[in-house]
Every structure is written in structure tokens, then in C-alpha cells.
């Protein structure tokens, strides 16, 4: 896969995320807000992005530290 294609995919995902946050802010705010973050457009996008990065890095770190061993089948 070329660098150009990789960058285009990244840009497309970022653009889609921005559009979705705007759509939420303008057209579809939370119907029955209960918690403070329900009033913040884009909190779901933040959960998706931030925790995806966190869980990948955490699993990688813990795996390397002690949770993963060479495969017994190999």
C-alpha cells in the first residue's frame, strides 16, 4: 500500500469524524441527557479514538511485559 493511499484513508477518517461531530452538534443532540458529557458533542468519537489507542498500547505493553509467551504450538 502506497504512502499516498495511507494518508488518504487517514484524512477520510478524520473528515468523517468531524462531519459526524458537527451532525451531532447541529442536528441530533442527546435526547435525554443525564450526565454532563451528554451535552458535549463528540464525546463518543473521543471515546472511540482515545480508548482505541489506549487499549492497543496497553495490551502491547502488558503482553510484552508478562501476559504473552511464545506460542506452545510453534
Amino acid at each position: 500500500m502506497s504512502d499516498r493511499l495511507r494518508n488518504r484513508v487517514t484524512l477520510a477518517l478524520v473528515a468523517l469524524l468531524v462531519v459526524l461531530v458537527l451532525v451531532e452538534a447541529v442536528l441530533f443532540p442527546y435526547d435525554h441527557p443525564v450526565f454532563p458529557w451528554h451535552h458535549m458533542p463528540g464525546y463518543s468519537a473521543a471515546i472511540g479514538l482515545v480508548f482505541a489507542i489506549l487499549i492497543v498500547l496497553l495490551s502491547k505493553t502488558l503482553g510484552a511485559w508478562f501476559l504473552q509467551r511464545p506460542d506452545v504450538d510453534e
Partner: protein
């Protein structure tokens, strides 16, 4: 008497008894006819039908077809039909018989009205599952089966003790159980063992991937969801379950992100998704309990579909690890499409079943002002999409070419089974009001089709996709085994069986030698019957052993 003859378990039981003695065409037909007849029986039952039997000094409530039982029974029976179609080419007498026993036992658990009938079917689930694991027919499946047996026997003894204590107090009917008593704690421990609540979960991710591809497809549906049913019935609103469910959901998804074996990855997602259901039980509102019932229904089909599509990949390529797969999108395009329907369903994507079921539990947490629960369940949604809809299909069908090729085509029957499950995932996601929601047992109003819900889910998915895209190099499958809590008991158990002799001197060493001889002999006998004798011999002996155990259990409990 008409109710007894309409009992949906009967077609499964009769078919399981006939299957070992007939040829391949009849076996195949029975694997489809039995669930079809069971479904007809369930539909024909009047609302709230009950069948009781006064025998052996006990009031047996063999059938109680109320709303809660019906939603689970409908899912079990429909899924048995689809899995039967998928397993058309698995013609072995033993696997066919035991898959029917498993489906019948699951149906029996959810239709049981008293504690002893519940326990009776509960144990049949264990026995049938054990044989399906062993029918994986490898040394690993043999060992995993033994660990499964030890775990579930321990759970059964604990649960039976609690049941007998309640019977001693005059409680026989299975309804909401009193909390805070020794008996109820013991029963709860037995139930959460079958629900795979950490740290009592490792039997699932240890054993399910070791069964045959057809065996895993059956195993994925019945045991944990039967336990979910029992917890909804027995312990609704127990706050401990709410937190246990959240931990379970996070735990499963975290391990799935690390996992390399596709069937073990999906097994961890059973734990994670059952975590949502257990959380719903702990929340205890009408909406959350409906959410648990709806999500169990959805889960049975989308997880079945995912296990089926993973099985199709293994069947076609002979490989089941992400580190050995890749570049299969073209030759296995329909498998990819069907896997993605399952992946979108488990991720709660719009127009698929998880969208209309999972969100009920998350909304119930918000309406109940359980802020951490709502937030953590949203995080789990992210992890689910990351590992099942992005990581698994990407490294199976796209990614680097690791030499995986299609050695044999995926049979039409497998596509039929997957297609039927995919249809349910789609139709319940598009018109839940006319399908799934009509079955829900509790009185709660919920509309999943709001603009905000669409946008919220799409934001989580897009944000996760961006995170995956940026860090996908870190997620490349590596040939590694992930340590789980079974590590804590595998070695002590091995030491107890084989190594304790060293500490106990000559007499102890003889015990260790005998133990090793017994286990090795068991494996050799199993192999002998599997490979050199008429397969019906194994099925016959299995039937005799199981029937003997059942009769002994029945007599002991009854007397």
C-alpha cells in the same frame, strides 16, 4: 397431558437417542427435523403453559413457558436449526447426538420451573459440551475437556449443595431467590461459573477453541446464555452482578485485542458480551432486564455467525491463527461478507441486531444514573469493534500475504447456516418491533432509532477505525500464547495429580504413576474407538455412560 407431549425438549431427546443407530441421511435429517419440531411445539404451547409432575416425592415443574423462558427457548431452538444446517457435513454419530443433547439441555434449562429440573438439564449441558470438546479429537481437546469437566463438576457440586439447602427449607420453584443466605450464594456461584464471570471464566477460552469447528459452533450458544437466563430469573437487581458484568465485559475485550487464535478471540468476546448481559441483570430495571434478554437473543445468532465464519476459514485453509492468515478476501469473499454481518452486529452498528439490543443495557445504565457503568460499556463497544470488525477480518482477509491458500471450498451447507444466522442478525436490527421486541418479557418502552443513537454509534466506530488505522502495525498477529487465570491452576493441578508423589515418598509416587497411566489410557481408549472401531460404538458407549449417570443422579436426587 397434552403439555408434556408438546414439551420442546422431547424432539431433541428422541432424535439424540435415534441418531447413533441410523445412517448418514437420517442423521442429517434428524438434526434439522428435531429443532423444527421443537419450534412447532414451542409455538403451539399456550401462553404461560405449565406442566407439573408429582413423582419421587417431589413436585417437578418440567415446563414453564412464560415470557422470559420463551425468548431464550426461541433463540436456542432457532439457532439449533441453523447450526444443524451448518454442520450438515459433520456426519459423526457422536457429534450429531451430542449437539442435539446440548440444544435440548439448553432448552430444558430455560423451560424448567423448579430447581431440581433446572439442575438436571444444567448437568446435561455439561455432559454434552464435554463430549463435543472431546470430539475435537486432539490431545489438546482431550486435556481441555478434562479441565472443563473439573471446573464444571466443582460448579455443579456447589450449586447442588445450594439447591438441596433450599429444598430443605421447602423452596422448590425456581423464582427470584432470596439473597444473603448461604444457599443463594452457593447457587449464585454455580451460575456465574457457567456464565464465565472472571475469575471463573478460563474454562471457556481454554476449551471452546479446541472442539471441532462444528462443535464450537454449537458450544458458543447454550451454556453461557442458559446461565444468563438463570441469573435473570434468580438474581435480578443484585448490584454485585452489575460490577461483575462490567469487569467481565472489559476483561474479555482486552484479552480479545491481544489474542491471535481467531476462535479464542471470539471466545473472549463471548465473555465480554455476556458481561453486558450480567450488567443488565445487576441493574435490575425492566429496561435493563429486557436489554439482557434481547442481547442474549442477538448474541446467540451473531456469535454463532462469527464462529461459523471463523470455522469456514479454518475449514478452507486449515489455519486458524491471525499470524498464519491474510490475503483471503478474494477466494473467500462470501465468508468475509457474512463475517462482517456478524462483526457489525456484535459492534452494535446501525441496522444490525446489536444496535437494538446492546443499547438497551447502556441506556438503562444512563437512566439509572450509573455514570461509570455507561462510560465503561461504551469503551467496551469500542474494543469490540476494534478486535472483531477491524483486527480479525483485516488480518484474516487483507493484511500481509502469509501463504494461506484455499485448500478446499466452503461447502454450500456452511453458507446456508451462516446465511440463516445473518438473516436473523439483519432482520432483528431493521424491524425489532415486529420481531425481537415482541418476545421481550418485561414492561418497558425503548426506541433505538433516534438520530442521536445513530450518530453516537457511528462516531465510536469511526474514532475506533482511525485509532486502528494509525496503530494497526501493533496489532499484527504474533505466534504467542496469552496467559490467563487458568495458568494459576493448571500447574497446581498438574502438580497435585502427577507431582505430589515426590513430596509424599514412594507411596505417593505410585499414585502419580497410576494417575498418569489412567489419563493416558483414557486418551488411548478414546482414540481406539474414534479411529478403529465402528463410530456407533463410541456413540453407544457415550449414551450408556451418560444415561447411567443421569439415572443415578435422578434416583439420588429423587430419593
Amino acid at each position: 397431558m397434552s403439555s408434556l407431549f408438546l414439551h420442546p425438549v422431547l424432539p431433541f431427546a428422541v432424535a439424540a437417542l435415534i441418531v447413533p443407530w441410523v445412517g448418514v441421511p437420517v442423521r442429517r435429517a434428524l438434526s434439522l427435523v428435531a429443532p423444527a419440531l421443537a419450534l412447532a411445539s414451542l409455538v403451539a404451547l399456550p401462553d404461560g403453559a405449565v406442566y407439573t409432575l408429582d413423582a419421587l416425592g417431589h413436585d417437578w415443574v418440567l415446563l414453564r413457558a412464560d415470557g422470559l423462558a420463551t425468548v431464550f427457548a426461541t433463540a436456542f431452538i432457532l439457532y439449533a436449526l441453523m447450526a444443524g444446517a451448518y454442520a450438515w457435513h459433520d456426519t459423526g454419530r457422536g457429534p450429531k447426538a451430542m449437539s442435539l443433547v446440548l440444544a435440548g439441555a439448553g432448552t430444558g434449562v430455560v423451560l424448567a420451573g423448579d430447581l431440581l429440573t433446572l439442575f438436571f438439564f444444567w448437568e446435561w449441558l455439561t455432559i454434552a459440551s464435554l463430549f463435543l470438546i472431546w470430539f475435537g479429537n486432539t490431545q489438546k481437546s482431550w486435556d481441555a475437556g478434562f479441565r472443563y469437566l473439573i471446573f464444571h463438576l466443582a460448579g455443579a457440586i456447589v450449586m447442588l449443595t445450594g439447591v438441596l439447602m433450599l429444598l430443605g427449607e421447602g423452596v422448590t420453584v425456581f423464582e427470584v431467590l432470596p439473597t444473603g443466605t448461604t444457599a443463594s450464594w452457593l447457587i449464585l456461584a454455580g451460575m456465574v461459573t457457567n456464565a464465565a464471570v472472571p475469575p471463573l471464566h478460563a474454562w471457556l477460552s481454554d476449551a471452546y477453541p479446541e472442539a471441532s469447528i462444528f462443535g464450537t459452533v454449537f458450544l458458543s450458544a447454550f451454556t453461557t446464555k442458559s446461565a444468563v437466563y438463570a441469573l435473570v430469573r434468580g438474581f435480578p437487581g443484585l448490584e454485585l452482578l452489575m460490577w461483575a458484568g462490567v469487569i467481565m465485559a472489559l476483561f474479555g475485550v482486552f484479552y480479545a485485542v491481544m489474542e491471535n487464535n481467531i476462535r479464542r478471540l471470539l471466545s473472549y468476546h463471548i465473555i465480554s458480551q455476556v458481561g453486558y448481559m450480567v450488567t443488565g441483570i445487576g441493574l435490575g430495571t425492566a429496561l435493563s432486564l429486557n436489554g439482557t434478554s434481547a442481547h442474549a437473543f442477538s448474541h446467540i445468532f451473531y456469535k454463532g455467525l462469527l464462529m461459523m465464519s471463523a470455522g469456514a476459514v479454518i475449514h478452507a485453509t486449515g489455519r486458524g491463527k491471525l499470524s498464519d492468515l491474510g490475503h483471503l478476501a478474494k477466494p473467500l469473499k462470501w465468508t468475509l461478507v457474512l463475517m462482517m454481518i456478524g462483526a457489525f452486529s456484535i459492534s452494535g452498528a446501525p441496522l444490525f441486531s446489536g444496535f437494538v439490543s446492546k443499547s438497551m443495557i447502556v441506556s438503562a445504565a444512563a437512566y439509572g444514573e450509573r455514570a461509570p457503568v455507561e462510560l465503561l460499556l461504551l469503551v467496551v463497544s469500542m474494543g469490540t469493534f476494534l478486535s472483531v470488525a477491524l483486527k480479525m477480518p483485516w488480518f484474516t482477509f487483507a493484511g500481509e500475504d502469509r501463504g494461506a491458500t484455499v485448500l478446499r471450498p466452503v461447502p454450500t451447507s456452511m453458507y446456508v447456516g451462516m446465511g440463516m444466522a445473518a438473516f436473523v442478525c439483519f432482520i432483528t436490527g431493521v424491524i425489532p418491533g415486529a420481531t425481537l421486541y415482541r418476545l421481550l418479557p418485561f414492561d418497558a418502552v425503548y426506541d433505538p432509532f433516534t438520530g442521536h443513537h445513530f450518530v453516537e454509534v457511528l462516531q465510536i466506530m469511526t474514532g475506533t477505525a482511525l485509532g486502528f488505522w494509525l496503530l494497526r502495525a501493533y496489532l499484527v498477529g504474533k505466534a504467542k500464547t496469552t496467559l490467563d487465570t487458568d495458568y494459576l491452576y493448571r500447574r497446581p493441578l498438574g502438580w497435585l495429580i502427577f507431582g505430589a508423589g515426590d513430596a509424599l515418598g514412594a507411596a505417593g509416587q505410585r499414585v502419580a504413576v497410576v494417575n498418569r497411566w489412567a489419563l493416558d489410557s483414557g486418551w488411548r481408549v478414546f482414540q481406539f474407538y474414534r479411529t478403529r472401531r465402528e463410530p456407533s460404538t463410541l456413540a453407544f458407549q457415550a449414551t450408556v455412560v451418560v444415561a447411567t449417570l443421569a439415572v443415578i443422579a435422578f434416583l439420588v436426587l429423587g430419593l
